[in-house]
């Protein structure tokens, strides 16, 4: 039929280094209070983008979505913070201090998003799962993650099939009581089928020696680049700490 399959090493960074560095940098930026630290965070974010290949269109769309939330903050936080009024809305004052605070939160939020996009977003869920498993996350949680990802697509197709079948029998989506009743029915069926499926899957797992423990295949390789990324991330965290102290 064919020759022996060769073992191919995964190219690029180890998912563990991506995850740990992202976690360290995100936490550092999330808890900082000073502007220099937040701006440094934005710098890290921009640098991390080099570790995600392309997909600029998707990045722009996601970034826009993230900032819709921050527009809400920019509109409301200045009303809650006392200080120098920029604008008066009746008895409410829209303050400069509040605006600066909201903008600071926005900078932090965007910095964390960019770090996540650069370091973690390129990981496929299975790679994330193997990294979590290698980092000591409990087997059972890794198994739930793995099954959720594996069967997500199947469940989405199941839902599409259910809706299609209903449409062919005259179902029209809408806000009517009947339409929502039908949605409830279809969702109930989705969950029922998921339960039936899980029984079959469990049988299949038992037949392959499953004893309740999930064992990871491992196979992750920590290389020099991973160490380099770790060192860079540590330097970044130290920089944030120094900047925080400097402006305190």
């Amino acid at each position: 039929m064919s020759g022996q399959c060769a073992q191919e090493a995964q190219p690029g960074l180890d998912p563990r280094s991506r995850l740990l560095c992202a976690l360290g940098l995100c936490v550092a930026v999330a808890v900082c209070r000073s502007w220099p630290a937040a701006l440094a965070g934005l710098g890290f974010g921009a640098a991390c983008l080099a570790l995600n290949s392309g997909r600029w269109g998707a990045l722009a769309r996601r970034l826009a979505l993230v900032n819709v939330f921050f527009l809400g903050l920019i509109a409301t936080v200045p009303l809650a913070v006392p200080g120098d009024p920029l604008l008066r809305l009746g008895s409410l004052a829209f303050t400069r201090e509040g605006l600066m605070l909201a903008l600071h939160m926005t900078a932090k939020g965007n910095a964390i998003f960019l770090i996540f996009w650069g370091l973690v977003q390129p990981l496929s869920p299975p790679r994330l799962g193997s990294a979590l498993s290698a980092l000591g996350v409990p087997d059972k949680l890794c198994l739930i993650l793995s099954l959720t990802f594996r069967y997500l697509d199947l469940m989405r197709h199941e839902w599409d099939r259910l809706v299609t079948a209903a449409r062919l029998r005259g179902f029209t989506p809408g806000t009517s009581r009947r339409a929502w009743g039908t949605y409830g029915l279809l969702l109930a069926l989705l969950f029922m089928r998921a339960m039936d499926k899980s029984a079959a899957i469990h049988q299949a797992m038992i037949c392959r020696g499953f004893d309740g423990r999930f064992r990871s295949l491992g196979g992750l390789r920590w290389r020099a680049v991973d160490t380099a990324l770790g060192v860079a991330a540590c330097a970044g965290i130290v920089l944030v700490a120094v900047l925080e102290r400097g402006s305190a």
């Binding site: 020759g3 060769a6 793995s146 049988q203 299949a204 020696g209 423990r213 295949l217």
Partner: protein
């Protein structure tokens, strides 16, 4: 060596008897084909052998020792590889390599050993290069072959296959048949596709009304005369 022996096996749900006083023996290297209509109890027979349904009577012996409770079957399940009818039930890991390595890891292999066995089994079914593919994105034929690799990775002495051709196009069927013919294992293949059974097995049984019948030596074969095969067509 006798791998599986059923003696007076009886199975049923509620009032309905599915298998009635059934006897069957699968010896090392034997290739048995089991035909029967949908609903005739073929799947129940395989599940009873694997200890997934509890028989109402009779004895299941695997490698000579009687299996009664769930614990007795744990050993049996190492000897028998069971291929489910629906590949999606059997491919429960996100990637192909992880899925094939699942069995060996559970049987106590180290990560490196499991990886090596998985790669070997993937090459046996001709799926080199599929290691990192996501299982939910595979085609029907690829799913079937991957789940076959996953079963082979447990190093079973016999394979129990439940309708291995359902939902496959002719090319995939041919590939599955080719892989099965190349294996040096005992087989018990359940299928309603007679042509497929004649390709991979050499003794045939039918199951109807809960009873097994051994088939004649030379069963009727349906030959395909030209490319449209058994389909109606005109010649213009």
């Amino acid at each position: 060596m006798t791998l599986v022996e059923l003696e007076g096996l009886t199975c049923g749900y509620q009032d309905r008897v599915v298998l009635a006083d059934l006897n069957l023996r699968l010896d090392e290297g034997q290739r048995l084909g089991l035909a029967g209509h949908t609903g005739s109890g073929k799947t129940t027979l395989l599940k009873a052998i694997m200890g997934l349904v509890t028989p109402t009577g009779g004895v299941v012996r695997i490698l000579g020792s009687e299996c009664r409770q769930n614990g007795d079957f744990t050993q049996a399940r190492r000897v028998l590889g069971y291929l489910f009818q629906n590949s999606d039930d059997q491919l429960f890991c996100p990637t192909v390599l992880e899925d094939v390595a699942f069995g060996p890891l559970n049987l106590g292999a180290s990560q490196a050993e499991a990886r090596a066995v998985a790669l070997e089994c993937l090459s046996m079914v001709g799926l080199c290069g599929f290691e990192e593919r996501l299982t939910h994105r595979l085609s029907g034929g690829e799913k079937r072959l991957t789940s076959l690799a996953g079963v082979l990775a447990m190093r079973p002495k016999a394979l129990l296959l439940d309708e291995p051709t359902t939902g496959l196009d002719p090319e995939s069927k041919a590939r599955v048949a080719e892989v099965l013919r190349g294996l040096d294992l005992a087989l018990l293949v359940v299928s309603h596709e007679w042509d497929f059974l004649t390709q991979v097995t050499n003794r045939y049984f039918t199951l109807s009304h809960g009873h097994l019948h051994e088939a004649a030596e030379a069963p009727h074969l349906h030959h395909h005369v030209h490319s449209l095969g058994d389909l109606p067509h005109s010649h213009d």
